[in-house]
């Protein structure tokens, strides 16, 4: 039983990270119907930027550690958001009116570009996050020793998700994002600046993705330049699992995928965990073809 709960918590931590990255996929998909394959690499960039900021700016020397980490979080999110914004301007806006798959190929090109840019700047080796960042306290819950960092990662991702939900559901700008996701043409007629909404989505998504990159760095302690490819694929899977375009769906899909993976790794075989995650995805899609929370929209004839 203890193993089960440990794996569950581990799964929730990883799942929270997946969910944060999946939100970027699903929001971009919502407004543009585009699978932004470069999103995973923005996540990598977040992890590397975090390392650079922590190591080179010596923030931890000037400020108390939690404040420094928080400051780096904000800076990484802002920088990743800026890169996402520029990416949309350069690679996706010219293809706005072209076929959907042309933009997908452009996104794949952008992904290769970013991945190799990170490799050229930092080199191909694995980087290790400084040890002192990892909070090394343990919490005892029901007699189990749970690493504090695990709980912090879960808390941080839940906090970010709640913040995003509140923003989307309760503010005027959030309403504009929802409106554009439902029907860009009608949204434009209602006086919504669709281009601005799309830019905003490309700020929020990569911002969350970059923050998730930093969290992976702190949680696992090491990063490499290809990690965006696998995390991006997983997060995209999570977004589809929950029903792409659906924001609560991405959160649910991310957490669920993380838990499935952790349980598969714990109880079946670690070598098969990715295959099992994909298998579960396929099974769920066979039963619910538009994901868990995706609505079954009627076909327009």
């Amino acid at each position: 039983m203890e193993q089960f709960f440990q794996q569950l918590l581990n799964g929730l931590a990883v799942g929270g990270i997946y969910a944060l990255v999946a939100l970027g996929y699903t929001m971009v998909y919502g407004v543009l119907k585009l699978i932004n394959f470069a999103h995973g690499d923005l996540f990598t960039i977040g992890a590397y930027l975090g390392l650079t900021l922590l190591a080179s700016c010596n923030l931890s020397g000037m400020l108390p550690l939690p404040v420094a980490v928080l400051a780096v979080f904000v800076m990484v999110a802002l920088l990743a958001a800026l890169i996402g914004f520029l990416l949309e301007r350069a690679a996706y806006r010219p293809l706005r009116n072209a076929g959907r798959l042309s933009a997908v190929v452009s996104a794949l090109g952008a992904s290769i570009f970013f991945q190799n840019a990170v490799m050229l700047i930092y080199g191909a080796r694995v980087y290790v996050y400084p040890d002192f960042l990892r909070p090394d306290f343990t919490v005892h819950v029901f007699g189990m020793a749970v690493p504090g960092v695990r709980l912090l990662v879960i808390a941080a991702s839940v906090l970010l998700m709640l913040g995003l939900s509140a923003f989307i559901q309760r503010t005027r700008t959030g309403a504009a994002i929802r409106a554009v996701a439902i029907d860009p043409g009608a949204a434009r007629l209602m006086g919504i600046n669709v281009d601005r909404v799309i830019s905003l989505v490309f700020l929020i998504g990569p911002g969350l993705g970059g923050a998730a990159g930093l969290m992976v760095g702190i949680y696992y302690g090491q990063i490499d330049f290809t990690m965006g490819w696998s995390y991006g694929l997983k997060a995209f899977t999570a977004a589809i699992l929950g029903g792409i375009g659906n924001i609560p769906g991405a959160m649910l899909g991310g957490l669920l995928l993380g838990v499935i993976e952790a349980l598969a790794a714990g109880y079946i075989a670690i070598a098969w965990k990715d295959a099992i995650a994909f298998l579960v995805l396929i099974l769920i899609l066979i039963i619910r073809p538009t994901g868990i929370l995706g609505e079954r929209t009627a076909d327009k004839l």
């Binding site: 699978i35 072209a98 076929g99 970013f114 066979i286």
Partner: protein, 329 residues
């Protein structure tokens, strides 16, 4: 066909290429031919039927592994394994595509990506104890054709490009047939196609099976050329490259050939930039798509038999573009 002279010129050029190329570039041309073969087979699924399929490397892998296993364990000659490799890939495609064929656009896309990953992980984990784990299988013998042993790059060059030529003819015939028209109709609007009496599920499955059969045979050639195969040769990135070749081509067969040259040739041309070459490659992918969003060479309009049949001349249909595949999804 307006593009006939272009095809003839390209064919003549390809015939004499081995006489002027050095061994290195000949090898590159063999790889280009192999990718052209794969992309032509994917074009049936993605370009003609408009099914979002990003997992073609899975079928390629099945074909290559069937050949490798039959050849190394049972000592079958390579060419005898080819139909079986194709059939195995086709059967695999039928089995995995049947339950998911009704999924729309992007849901199908991630499922096909998932299939590639599952196949790769299964190969790494030495499924059935036959695949040799992450080291793969080595010692695959060279193919023999009527006593002639195919060893050198030039031999493989003619083999691969001969297959490409045969595929071009076959897929062209298919495009002109009822089957091709049905696929194009499904791509434009699958609901309308269903309404016109096209059995959408059956035709989509047929497209999958045919494409997979071809990819499986390409796998045979790949295994014979490399003599060693490993799971990492069939990862998601390979699928992405084949997918991108088809999208950039615009959906016509000539476009697929040009696009294969660009995609596989470009990284080789960029070798002098050493580390930065994939950076430039990614940049080039973006620029090419922005430059030609509809693809390099979209297929021309279909021409139907004119008044000679006693029917009024049909209005030429608008060209089908691979890039428009997802409008209806």
């Amino acid at each position: 066909m307006k593009r006939m002279p272009l095809y003839l010129a390209l064919g003549a050029l390809l015939c004499v290429l081995p006489l002027v190329c050095n061994a290195y570039w000949l090898d590159v041309c063999v790889m280009i031919g192999l990718y052209a073969l794969l992309a032509l087979s994917l074009n049936v699924i993605l370009g003609q039927a408009g099914i979002f399929h990003m997992g073609h490397a899975a079928f390629f892998a099945v074909g290559a592994y069937v050949t490798a296993i039959l050849n190394t364990l049972c000592q079958w000659p390579i060419f005898c394994t080819m139909p079986l490799a194709g059939a195995a890939a086709a059967l695999f495609a039928l089995l995995v595509a049947r339950p998911i064929i009704h999924l729309r656009g992007d849901y199908l896309l991630i499922v096909t990506i998932g299939i590639v990953e599952i196949v790769r992980i299964a190969l790494i984990n030495d499924i059935f104890g036959l695949t040799g784990g992450s080291n793969g299988i080595f010692g695959i013998s060279r193919p023999r054709l009527f006593g002639f042993r195919i060893v050198k790059s030039a031999h493989f060059y003619y083999l691969v490009w001969g297959m490409v030529g045969a595929s071009l003819l076959l897929f062209y015939g298919l495009w002109r047939s009822r089957f091709g028209r049905a696929l194009n109709c499904i791509k434009e609007d699958d609901i309308a196609a269903e309404g016109c009496g096209v059995n959408v599920t059956r035709y989509k499955l047929l497209a999958f099976v045919l494409g997979a059969f071809w990819a499986g045979m390409a796998g045979t050639v790949y295994a014979a050329k490399m003599t060693t195969i490993a799971p990492e040769s069939f990862n998601f990135m390979e699928s992405v490259i084949i997918f991108a070749v088809v999208i950039l081509s615009g959906g016509s067969q000539l476009g697929v050939l040009v696009s294969a040259f660009l995609f596989i040739g470009l990284p080789e041309v960029l070798r002098e930039f050493s580390n930065a070459r994939m950076l430039i490659f990614g940049l080039a992918m973006m620029i090419m798509m922005i430059w030609r969003p509809q693809g390099l060479l979209p297929p021309g309009p279909r021409h139907y038999a004119g008044p000679s049949d006693g029917l009024p001349p049909a209005a030429p249909r608008a060209g089908n573009q691979a890039t428009e595949a997802g409008r209806s999804a």
